[in-house]
């Protein structure tokens, strides 16, 4: 078990090339998802704030 895991991670001696390739793909593609979700959330909050604020003002309520 241990041995086969070690040989798996050794990648026939190419571990220094194979794992960075997969790791970088995970970081870049995962990072893109995080950035995209955050941008969506920030904008949605801004839209909600504007629309909610507008309603409050129309209703004669207090400040922003």
């Amino acid at each position: 078990m241990m041995e086969s895991l070690v040989s798996f991670f050794a990648m026939g001696g190419y571990y220094a090339y194979v794992w960075p390739a997969y790791g970088l793909a995970a970081v870049v593609l995962g990072g893109l998802l995080v950035v995209s979700l955050r941008a969506l959330r920030v904008r949605q909050a801004e839209v909600d704030r504007l629309e909610g604020g507008g309603r409050r003002r129309r209703a004669g309520g207090g400040g922003a």
Partner: protein, 251 residues
Amino acid sequence: MTVSLHRFANPARFLKIAALVLPWASGLTVGLLGLGLYLGLVASPPDYQQGESVRIMYVHVPAAWMAMFVYSVIAVASATALIWRHPLADLVAQASSPIGACFTFLCLVTGSLWGKPMWGTWWMWDARMTSVLILFFLYLGHMSLSKAFDDPVRGAKAASVLALVGVVNLPIIKFSVDWWNTLHQPASVMRLDGPTIDGSMLTPLLLMALAFTMYYVALLILRVRAEMLDRKLRTARLAAVDAATVPAPAR
């Protein structure tokens, strides 16, 4: 009447369809990625010449396909935006270019990581690598050009023109390995006479490519929605500025 329907009905319909597609695209991405990674990293055999280093292929080749596919989507969307002024087309193009840039970047770096042990060099200024590097710069140019004007309509138009001019690069990438001498191997999957790659390697390769495609669809939906909100906010801000500067009409 038709103009107003054309302008406003489509984004609403897009949101409806997107809400249906997003969970499927996300689920398929996870499933296909899991299966593709298992087959690619564990179950598939090492190459008889390249040994285990061939496993870089399961990231490198799908990333390369996506780099070109996403650019084709941008080109079609740009043509649609310029000719029919479809309100969604610019959003799709602008939401796509950062995704395409990421896939192109991955293609270049994983290719480098594969080239070092197999060819003995990180980089060669040959036709395949240079044309993909140009694709990367086209993406960066598209991203910055669309944000370079105060008026987003002018930015979108300039970016569309750049995207369409850059289309000439796609066949150059595809056929560079046939037209010029290169270290890069010729096509082994998308060939007129059928794939020359063994099924045990072709299956994980196609699974990873499908996973990347589904991931692109999911990311595209998220980013188009963000772009839509962006337009909404811009309109709201402009309206607020107008309300503040133009004297209010008699009440």
